[in-house]
């Protein structure tokens, strides 16, 4: 019973984190048909921005509680700047190339950003444990868990809800969904694609950076943390179906819970579980749960 509860809590925490990591990737793909390999770099940039801010903030002895808004803000700012630079500096020149070329382009961007983060932040580890430790732990029904994890769940749910609201209930969001649904028609209908693309990419990057920023207090920020993220995020996103936000949520929950079960029963197979779930889903639904493979019209 206890184990079950622990698995559930762990699973939900991990799912929340996965959703944050994957949401930006799927949004960018949905609208722009670009699988952004550099999404992991955005995560890293967010983590570094947050970590260096936390380091400075806590050494300066300000009110600790305020930091929770600021370090997220810092991560977001890092993502916005990086996203803007990448979109305006590189991607803009390549629009219209096919998806494989775009993946190579974003791979090039990934390589560049990996070194840029090293140039800015060096290669030594950053620690930003204060926000994590500050919240303390709670003991419920015999299990202790970090309150920071609750905070993570809260942010993830908020982000999910905002995305849902934004896409379904606002004018701009409906336009985005129109672009996701049929890019050519939307263009013909006069939707400003350049603007849509900038906003989407910046938003996607900011989401990636937010995920990194939120993770920073829970681990040491070192070079290379971004790369596993992109593969993990892809696995999550592809389960639901590339380009679908709801799909990313479902994928995150599936992977998150499965992993928690594995970790608490057979920890050796943790890695396999994540990709195993993906392989299983793909062998039944080749394009993911929320996307139906359609024959090309001839």
């Amino acid at each position: 019973m206890d184990t079950l509860l622990v698995i559930l809590v762990d699973g939900i925490v991990y799912s929340s984190w996965l959703f944050l990591v994957a949401a930006g990737l799927t949004l960018v793909y949905g609208v722009m048909k670009i699988l952004n390999m550099a999404h992991g770099s955005m995560y890293a940039i967010g983590a570094y921005s947050a970590a260096s801010f936390v380091g400075w903030y806590f050494s300066a002895d300000y009110v600790p509680w305020a930091s929770y808004f600021f370090f997220i803000g810092c991560a977001l700012a890092g993502g916005v700047i990086a996203g803007l630079l990448v979109e305006r500096g590189v991607l803009r020149l390549m629009y219209g190339s096919d998806e494989v070329v775009m993946i190579l382009v974003t791979y090039g961007v990934l390589l560049i950003l990996e070194d840029v983060t090293k140039l800015i932040w060096g290669v030594d580890a950053y620690f930003a444990y204060q926000p994590y430790g500050l919240l303390g732990r709670t003991k419920v029904m015999g299990i202790t868990f970090a309150n920071y994890d609750l905070y993570l769940i809260g942010v993830s749910v908020t982000v999910g809800a905002l995305m849902w609201y934004g896409l379904n209930r606002t004018r701009n969001g409906k336009m985005l969904r129109a672009v996701i649904h049929d890019r050519e028609i939307s263009m013909a209908m006069g939707i400003n694609v350049t603007r849509t693309f900038i906003i989407t990419f910046v938003l996607g990057s900011a989401l990636g950076a937010l995920a990194g920023g939120l993770t920073a207090p829970a681990l040491s920020v070192v070079p290379g943390i971004g790369i596993e993220i992109i593969i993990l995020a892809f696995a999550v996103v592809v389960i639901g179906g590339l380009g679908s936000v709801e799909g990313a949520a479902v994928g995150a929950i599936l992977v998150g819970i499965s992993r928690a079960i594995a970790v608490h029963t057979f920890p050796e197979i943790e890695l396999f579980v994540i990709y195993g779930v993906m392989a299983l889903v793909l062998s039944v639904r080749p394009r993911g749960l929320f996307v139906t493979a359609t024959a090309r019209k001839i």
Binding site: L111, E114, L119, L271
Partner: protein, 316 residues
């Protein structure tokens, strides 16, 4: 056969030249050449896939499998014969590819790219956690023999160099013929229009399946040769950066000619050796920037500089 005579004579001449260079050149040069020949084998596999319109970000998987097969055979099973272990490396890679290929041959474009990458990272993850295989440090391969003869450490480098030259010659001849064969062109046909291929009575998935296995076998051979030459294997061989470098070399060489791959691999290895020493923290940035420039200005690779556009060829 008449059809391939010119290219084959060119390959033969290059082979003789390489052998001669090997006898005269300093050790570091022949080592560097061995590694670039080995990596060129991997990249030729990647080029086979690229010609069919597929980008694999996970050839490191088979490069690593090949290396570890050689290592495990020599280190744990005491099978040391150079030819035998290379064969094992190729067979192991082929078998793994045949299993993963069942899933992968249904995918194209970004799916194929990302799934191949995920698979290679799984191997990386496993190896890093395998204490018995030396975790992140990997392990060394001590003895290599050839038909019972064990060359001393002073000679081993040269012998492996010759082996690499021989492997390169065989692969170059066979793969050049492959590129021009019906199956080779079927790859291009799949890249251009799968529906038409299907309506010509051929299964695109099956062709891709066979190409994926072939590419894996070549990568396994390349990894095996690298292991023999360096006497060491580690999980880094399966890491995304390794696979990424193969993609880089493939884009650099383009898909027009087998020979271009060897040239590109050699150039890459030399630049890498120096750039890595001079600017270890900027190396990836240089790679990335060059990659963008290639995609932007030379989308068909270096070889396109040398070839004149075919008469009547349209603008793409």
């Amino acid at each position: 056969m008449e059809y391939f005579r010119r290219t084959n004579s060119f390959f033969a001449a290059a082979f003789v030249l390489l052998l001669a260079v090997g006898l005269m050149a300093p050790n570091w040069f022949s080592y560097l050449t061995t590694i670039s020949l080995a990596k060129a084998l991997v990249v030729i596999g990647l080029v086979i896939l690229l010609r069919a319109g597929l980008v694999s970000f996970g050839q490191g998987l088979y490069y690593c499998l090949g290396g570890y097969s050689v290592g495990i055979a020599g280190h744990y099973l005491q099978w040391t014969d150079g030819f035998l272990v290379l064969l094992i490396a190729m067979v192991v890679s082929g078998i793994v590819a045949a299993i993963l290929g069942l899933l992968l041959c249904r995918y194209r474009e970004i799916f194929f790219a990302m799934l191949t990458m995920a698979f290679s990272m799984i191997l990386y993850g496993i190896l890093v956690k395998s204490v018995g295989l030396g975790s992140t440090d990997g392990f060394n391969i001590h003895s290599v023999s050839f038909f019972g003869w064990e060359p001393g450490t002073d000679k081993l480098g040269l012998i492996v160099y010759f082996l690499a030259c021989l492997a390169a010659l065989i692969v170059a001849v066979l793969m050049h013929r492959y590129f021009h064969s019906p199956v080779g062109f079927a790859g291009e046909a799949i890249r251009e229009n799968e529906i038409r291929v299907e309506y010509l009575g051929v299964s695109p998935n099956r062709i891709i399946f066979s190409k994926y296995i072939l590419a894996a076998v070549l990568a396994g051979a390349g990894g095996g040769l690298t292991a023999l030459a360096s006497g060491h294997v580690d999980p880094e061989m399966a890491y995304w950066t390794t696979s990424g470098e193969f993609v880089f070399v493939a884009l650099l060489s383009g898909t027009a000619h087998v020979a271009a791959v060897f040239i590109a691999a050699f150039l890459f290895e030399i630049i890498r050796t120096y750039a890595f020493d001079l600017a270890p923290y900027n190396w990836q940035m240089i790679l990335g920037a060059t990659l963008l420039l290639i995609i932007f200005f030379l989308p068909k690779g270096l070889w396109s500089i040398f070839t004149i556009r075919r008469a009547g060829g349209g603008v793409k």
